[in-house]
């Protein structure tokens, strides 16, 4: 791997991890734009107890609410979930891109 590519990945991951670590401390707990609209226009779609959307239960995400439930309702649970998420997102993007590139190479050959 070229030095500039390695530096890009290290720098980018560092920025993402800093944001992920700070986020549970500084992010607003107010509902987002869609949630705030739901609160005003269709309160049945909003769970005021959990301050989140009502979940019909089609899919139970392993880190729902950006929390690792095994770590309890703590800031650490949020940080760990976000750090995991950063690496998953990067892994998926790199993996999909690499697969696409290899398929193109094999098609050319």
């Amino acid at each position: 791997m070229k030095t500039e590519t390695r530096n890009l990945i290290i720098g980018g991951v560092a920025v993402a991890l800093i944001i992920a670590i700070l986020s549970p401390y500084i992010a607003s707990t107010n509902p987002d734009g869609l949630g705030a609209t739901a609160q005003h226009l269709n309160p049945s779609k909003w769970n005021s107890t959990s301050n989140d959307f009502t979940n019909p239960g089609y899919w139970n995400a392993p880190f729902a609410g950006y929390m690792v439930s095994q770590l309890g309702d703590t800031k650490l649970a949020g940080i760990v979930a976000l750090v995991i998420g950063c690496f998953i997102a990067m892994g998926v993007a790199l993996g999909v891109s690499e697969i696409i590139k290899r398929r193109k190479r094999s098609d050319v050959n």
Binding site: D32, N55, Y58, G85
Partner: protein
């Protein structure tokens, strides 16, 4: 968060329609990726996906009891000089968020890809293409970075309006109030989108200008939806090439 429509907000039959539309766009986005991603910009795509995921988690308070964060579709599209790049990058981040974090529904994934990925990328990219050039005899001349910011703001605003229309079609929100609330909240949230998009593009221009496609590729013609490689579209004998320091127009 922000525009991530959760499960239960849209009837399943409408979700199916949005899935079909999203798949069509993803097909062309994959075609673009196949022809344009290489050893140099694949790591950038990975880093942007991680960064967008992280920054989507940081909700910043906005007036009237709401909060929001950036989406990044316009940013990715401008960096790669193609809306298809934004579509594929945001679609991958949204998939991770829906499957692993329950942010945005699994059934509404198609609608979310349309709103944030497709609308965000295409509006952001083509508004930037329009705004970066002097208009009205030089009366409207936003310049390089202002045009990036304004385009990012418009992208978020219109994506929110599209979500409001989908909510109205689903019978979740009435159309007028939905547009008023969604548009109003996201007009404020869009300011953060604009600021962060400009900061990222400005920083890349200073630190790694080689990663910005506008410095290394020909300027994409307005409304060019091609998914071909840049090389295939390169005019012969350097015609139409713009020197890096002149692209895009100030």
């Amino acid at each position: 968060m922000i525009l991530h429509i959760p499960d239960g907000y849209i009837p399943l039959w409408q979700c199916a329609i949005y899935y079909i539309i999203a798949i069509v766009f993803l097909y062309f986005a994959l075609r673009w990726s196949r022809n344009n991603l290489n050893e140099k910009n694949i790591p950038l795509m990975g880093v942007l996906a991680a960064g967008i995921f992280a920054i989507m988690s940081m909700n910043i308070p906005v007036p009237f009891g709401s909060s929001g964060h950036m989406v990044g579709a316009a940013m990715v599209s401008i960096i790669f000089m193609s809306p298809w790049a934004g579509v594929i990058c945001i679609a991958m981040v949204l998939m991770v968020q829906a499957i692993f974090f329950g942010d945005g529904g699994v059934t509404t994934y198609g609608a979310n890809v349309i709103n944030m990925g497709v609308i965000g990328s295409f509006v952001g990219f083509y508004m930037w293409q329009i705004l970066k050039k002097p208009r009205l005899g030089g009366l409207l001349n936003l310049g390089k970075y202002w045009s990036v910011g304004v385009a990012a703001w418009i992208a978020i605003f219109l994506a929110a309006c599209m979500a409001a229309v989908e909510m109205a079609l689903a019978g979740t929100f009435p159309i007028q109030l939905g547009l008023l609330y969604m548009g109003g909240f996201h007009a404020m949230i869009g300011i953060f989108e604009a600021i962060i998009t400009v900061i990222v593009v400005f920083t890349l221009q200073r630190v790694r200008p080689d990663l910005l496609a506008w410095n290394s590729k020909k300027n994409v013609d307005e409304f060019d939806l091609s998914t071909d490689t840049q090389d295939e579209r390169e005019p012969p004998e350097g015609k139409g090439k713009v020197p890096p320091e002149e692209a895009p127009s100030q």
